[in-house]
């Protein structure tokens, strides 16, 4: 449902920011060991977030339609 889309986007952005902070912390910790974490991983996680939000949108849309039909 389009009414919930801003909410989904807000949740996605907050989750991504928290995970990005975790990734930044992990990169700093591993720098001492000369280990490298590729920025592509962060990009992959961003794509994963978009996919999850998309799935949530589709499932909620189906559920809400079903509920409305049931109540009628």
């Amino acid at each position: 449902m389009r009414q919930f889309v801003p909410l989904y986007i807000a949740i996605g952005i907050v989750a991504l920011l928290l995970v990005a902070a975790l990734q930044w912390w992990a990169s700093k910790q591993l720098a001492g060991y000369d280990m490298v974490i590729s920025p592509w991983i962060a990009a992959g996680t961003g794509i994963a977030a978009v996919i999850v939000i998309g799935l949530v949108y589709i499932v909620n849309r189906i559920n809400i339609r079903k509920n409305i039909n049931a109540i009628s």
């Binding site: 989750a15 928290l18 991983i41 992959g44 909620n60 559920n63 409305i68």
Partner: protein, 326 residues
């Protein structure tokens, strides 16, 4: 004018009924998203750290394998050597990317320090294919015309001397540069046949704990000073993409082979990380399902509560749902 479906639904949602459920669903969805993303991120990070080219030098790709020496094997040298069938079996394992023999000397070797250092010791040489050596040096070559033998020492050997032997015996500690600068008098002999060489340390290996000489020298010296019999290797070296591969660890255990346990420690770490990531991912998925359920219940509750009040609108909502794409 007939209100649109979205306007009607927005009005119903904004009534405030079931707001706590919406907050719960939002919180649940947020936590579920974070857990899922952490699971994906942690899995990718760990894969990257173990397998990426950039970190190739940090992970152990080379394993020196030998048979475990048991009490029953003591005094029977042949039992610690790999047979042709065992070598073929190791080579055909899926986790083996490259395979090499560690060739031992078949002659006596002594080393003496020059001048007044009064250092003399019996020692041994081994050789491995150059691709398995972690020391890159232009001096690492030998031809029969050369009288100088390049030698690679294990880093542990120097550390043992500097921090164990030298300190306890009140001897001076030696830097790597000094060791490289000191030419050693190497004597190779077999029976009455003797030849002297100058040994020069060209590097220190963290990968192979042995006194290494170039393969060309070992081949030449074994042919000239050896007994003429090609001995089976008692140690082999493999290159593997993933030293933490549980199949590799199981194979070594099953066959009674031994290797540097430190290099396969990631096997346990990997298992623990995979378990933690799987558990986080599983809880994330469950939480996501519950969040979706609560969302659904929220809408159900809101619409049911408003059914009487907004009966007329609902009629239009249902009518529009039938025709409109939501």
């Amino acid at each position: 004018m007939m209100p649109s479906f979205y306007q009607l639904l927005k009005k119903i949602i904004q009534t405030g009924i079931g707001r706590s459920r919406l907050i719960m669903a939002t919180g649940g969805l947020g936590i579920a998203m974070i857990l899922l993303l952490i699971a994906i991120q942690a899995h990718s990070d760990f894969d990257q750290l173990l397998y990426s080219q950039q970190n190739a030098n940090e992970s152990a790709d080379f394993l020196v394998i030998n048979k475990k020496i048991t009490n029953a094997m003591m005094g029977q040298r042949g039992q610690s050597m790999f047979t042709a069938a065992e070598i073929a079996d190791i080579k055909q394992q899926s986790f083996v990317e490259a395979f090499g023999f560690i060739t031992s000397n078949q002659y006596k070797v002594t080393a003496a320090a020059p001048g007044d250092l009064h250092f003399y010791t019996d020692m041994f040489f081994e050789s491995v294919p150059d691709t398995f050596i972690d020391v890159k040096n232009e001096e690492w070559k030998w031809t029969p015309a050369d009288n100088t033998i390049p030698i690679i020492l294990p880093n542990d050997f120097l550390n043992l001397y500097n921090f164990g032997f030298a300190l306890s015996q009140d001897l001076p500690q030696i830097s790597q540069e000094t060791v490289k600068a000191i030419p050693m008098k190497i004597t190779i002999s077999q029976g009455l046949l003797t030849q002297e060489f100058t040994g020069r340390i060209v590097g220190f290996s963290d990968r192979i704990s042995s006194f290494l000489v170039p393969g060309s020298f070992m081949e030449w010296a074994n042919a000239k000073f050896g007994n003429g019999v090609v001995a089976s290797p008692s140690r082999v070296i493999i290159k593997t993409k993933d030293p933490s591969n549980p199949a590799l660890v199981k194979y070594l255990d099953d066959k009674g082979y031994n290797t540097n346990q430190d290099k396969i420690k990631y096997s346990k770490t990997k298992l623990i990380v995979q378990t933690i990531v799987s558990v986080i991912g599983f809880f994330g998925l469950i939480l996501l399902l519950f969040a979706l359920l609560v969302f659904s219940m929220f809408v159900q509750l809101v619409i049911a509560s408003c059914k009487k009040k907004y009966n007329y609108w609902l009629h239009w909502v249902l009518l529009l749902v039938s025709y409109n794409d939501t």
